[in-house]
């Protein structure tokens, strides 16, 4: 009997704002404990929430980018439960009228190799709503300490339909959300900083069965890879259990990344009675077409659309776009150069995704501080195209440009890298080399193509590396035919 897994994800994403969602206290990460607080954040007697307009703009943008419907009206509800990280022992959320309805996330699976684009599909969403984040518990041997800095940070809850079937899909889903949020400037989705958190609901059933199996909630998935690994492990575990004839019961499990396994946290309790009711301290939100349109116009070209366009418009392969697209700044940098001379796009793409990234990484420089501008890179590529210098020499020119900020021409001048000979001279050298190296000539003529390299090497030596290997090869072949 074959089994299949059905997975839904609940993803929490913090919206980047200056202040908190219902309080004018600063929002941030890494501050001294209990410094980003005010009466609202601490739930003091008499405190009252006031909506942050920018947080609303942020979630509408996220919803539109993820293909949701944003209805005309939404309101706030209280979700009542007691927990030490909750300042009021209720969370302000949206129960039955969320600000975003439905929607889908386009995901890209891993290809067979890194150079091959994997398949795309759409994962359906149920809804996205806005709520306040809660404080952080720090655990010690004998007790726990509560820090409310994180409390009331604006939090989007993105709920997927049970529409995924593997850890790999979940990985792709989170990656896609992360990239979209970064492109839209809504969040950096850094899981280490708690900017994105995910819980998974996993059930396994025999293939062909309509009903879903018992749902296991999986928590403590602290990285995108952890989500993938945890889900994969859990699917295996549940499948094995079912194969042994055991039944699954609804429960909560946690992933232990260090031990590489899941463990039971708690059996299903009676569903929490959250006693939802409309928050009497907050007024409802009316969203009109103008507002929706204004936000829609702020959404940039989204990652997969850009990827498709780059591949078609610039005829560059997935191996390049897969590096450019996830980094919005990098893709913008690339396009600023490629747009001007599209036929150089592939060469530009190669430089950006290999040499540029390598130099930036080695010198710990941000792209925004890079001394080579897109125009500067373009001119280097054009110089190679024209054959002024060889590709190999160009690599060194690039590094000089990166370190000094000079233009390609300036480096070539300064280092005297232009060949100071003509093709006639190259022909002569080829003839000399053929004359001086009978053995490789012999080998080549008897069918050993590789022997040409030895001859090529000799010509390159004579030209002090400045001759174009392609041209030399061609000339040698002519001579030897």
């Amino acid at each position: 009997m074959e089994y299949e897994a059905v997975i839904g994800l609940e993803v929490h994403v913090q919206i980047k704002t200056e202040s908190k969602i219902f309080s004018g206290s600063r929002s941030g990460y890494g501050y001294e404990p209990n410094t980003l607080v005010d009466p609202v954040v601490l739930g003091l007697p008499g405190s009252l929430p006031v909506m942050n307009k920018t947080a609303l703009d942020g979630i509408i943008k996220a919803g539109l980018a993820l293909n949701c419907t944003v209805p005309n009206y939404c309101k706030w509800d209280r979700k009542n439960y007691f927990y030490p990280d909750s300042p009021n022992n209720y969370q302000i959320t949206q129960y039955d009228q969320p600000i975003c309805d439905g929607g889908f996330v386009e995901i890209e699976m891993e290809g067979e190799t890194r150079a091959v684009m994997g398949s795309h599909r759409k994962v359906a969403l149920t809804r996205i709503h806005l709520e306040n984040d809660v404080g952080k518990l720090n655990h010690f041997a004998e007790d726990s300490l509560v820090d409310y800095n994180r409390a009331f940070t604006p939090l989007m809850e993105i709920v997927s339909e049970p529409d995924m079937h593997s850890g790999a899909e979940a990985f792709a889903f989170l990656t896609a959300i992360r990239q979209t949020m970064i492109y839209c400037g809504i969040s950096d989705c850094d899981m280490e900083k708690g900017q994105m958190r995910a819980d998974a609901n996993i059930s396994v059933r025999p293939v062909g069965q309509k009903e879903l199996g018992a749902k296991i909630e999986l928590k403590n998935l602290n990285s995108i890879t952890g989500v993938k690994n945890g889900i994969e492990y859990e699917i295996k575990r549940q499948t094995q259990e079912l194969k042994k004839g055991r039944t699954m019961t609804q429960a909560t499990w946690r992933w232990d990344a260090d031990l590489g396994r899941t463990e039971l946290m708690r059996e299903k309790e009676d569903a929490h009675d959250y006693r939802y009711f409309p928050d009497p301290d907050l007024m409802p939100v009316h969203i009109d077409d103008e507002w929706r349109e204004r936000i829609r116009c702020e959404i940039p070209e989204l990652p997969f659309d850009k990827q498709r366009r780059f591949m078609e418009q610039y005829d560059i392969p997935y191996s390049i776009t897969s590096v450019l697209v996830p980094d919005w700044e990098l893709s913008e940098y690339f396009e600023r150069a490629a747009k001007k001379v599209p036929k150089c796009a592939q060469a530009i793409g190669n430089y950006v995704t290999n040499d540029l990234l390598r130099e930036l990484s080695d010198s710990n420089t941000a792209l925004s501080e890079c001394k080579i501008s897109p125009d500067g890179l373009l001119s280097l590529v054009e110089v190679i195209e024209k054959g002024v210098i060889t590709k190999q020499i160009a690599k060194d020119v690039f590094i000089e440009m990166f370190n000094t900020g000079e233009s390609a021409t300036e480096v070539i001048e300064r280092k005297g890298l232009k060949p100071d000979f003509d093709e006639g001279q190259v022909k002569d050298w080829c003839q000399e080399v053929v004359n001086e190296n009978p053995r490789p000539v012999e080998d080549f003529r008897s069918g050993n193509d590789k022997a040409l390299n030895a001859l090529l090497g000799q010509v390159m030596k004579k030209s002090r590396g400045k001759a174009s290997p392609q041209i030399v090869q061609g000339l040698l072949k002519e001579l030897l035919s």
Partner: protein
Amino acid sequence: MSAELYYKSASELSGLLNRREISSVELTQSVIGRTKAVDDLVQAFNSFDEKNALAQAADSDARRNRGESLGLLDGIPVGIKDVLAVKDQPLTCSSKILADFVSPYDATCIEKLKRSGAVLWGRLNMDEFAMGSSTENSATKITGNPWKLDCIPGGSSGGSAAAVSAGESIVSLGSDTGGSIRQPASHCGVVGLKPTYGRVSRYGLAAFASSLDQVGPLGRTVRDTAVLLQSISGHDINDSTSYKVDVPNYVQAIKQLKGRKWTFGLPKEYFESASDMASMGPVKEAIEFYKSIGCEIKEVSLPHTAYAVATYYIVATAEASSNLARYDGIRYTHRAESFDAKDSVDIYRQSRAEGFGNEVKRRVLLGTYVLSSGYYDAYYLKAQKTRTLIRRDFEEAFKDVDALLTPTAPSPAFKRGAHSGDPLSMYLSDIYTISANLAGIPGLSVPCGYVDGLPVGLQILGKPFKEDEILAMGNEFESAHNFANEHPPL
């Protein structure tokens, strides 16, 4: 003069201060002296800080001497119900759970009061978390009615009303969720006003029922009440439920609207069962007075009156059960220490058991129940719908009349302990005041007579944001009678 400074009106005192006939320090000393003399009997104050009050008074005098007086309330002692946040002062809500809490911030209305130069005076006793109509539910002390000390002063702003009545404060601030300003004002023979919902900011008011609570003024005269209302009214960015409506000049309005021939409505449902009620005598006389000065009196109907108490006790307790969840032993409240807490849930259960009084527990349990799974539609949703019907009753009635006249309470103050053991009968006595909170309209109580030596109040209910009108109406009555000058035999 000094012996009676504490019984003068704020308006008169303001004049004396401006003419330098008295200083704020003198005035405040008079009030402090009076408090020390009678509060052992009245028990209106949970606490007071003499030094702090005199320092504020000294600041006021210094301002006045520099020619920088801030207005009508500058230098006037204002008592504060122990439910409003004042920075660096206790905020107990008359509850054990907040017994040691000191507020780190000011409520908006307190900020405004400070900017008006008032001398904030003491922390006034109340029913715990504003839940009650007699101040008997206080965990700190029992407040007496200055007119008869073994009677209740009303509630929940019992301390606020008693202090003003007894001369322990010139004016005071209270809060009103179901009648908690108007009813104690009526019982103690002073003026009390519940503003339109949203007129005054709730930021810094420890919440009981968010959609019903309002902060409001109490004073011995309508004009004093108007002055205090003026200083605390207005839209507040920190309270999403406060409204952007212009604040008229209430003191001027009283003058400008004098002599107007109003049309009053008498809700027949309020008077039908009331003919034998103790309060009716003075209230009926008050109605006659308005007739006698040319006002028209009509009968109107508020058909859903009988459902108001039930509606209120669902909505208010539901909201309260959620608002009081924050008092949990974790961040700033009493924490039960007498046992070994296994986990936070233990701390919650025990701290709240120790920290809350019976009435609070009752209401939190009731509110939790009506919101719980399976009951939301039958109770909370049903109540909010009934609330709409009650609101519409008032809208209909106000099409034909300017305001409604009713008794504030069915009878004058009862003897302490008379209703203990029967919470429902206590709830039913709120019948005249509760609907105004449900509908969000303003209400004024003015003294209109006595029954068995205890004061009786006339309630004037007005259209939304028409505090100026009901103040003018109340002033009309007051200026033709002497109740404002009558003080309890303390």
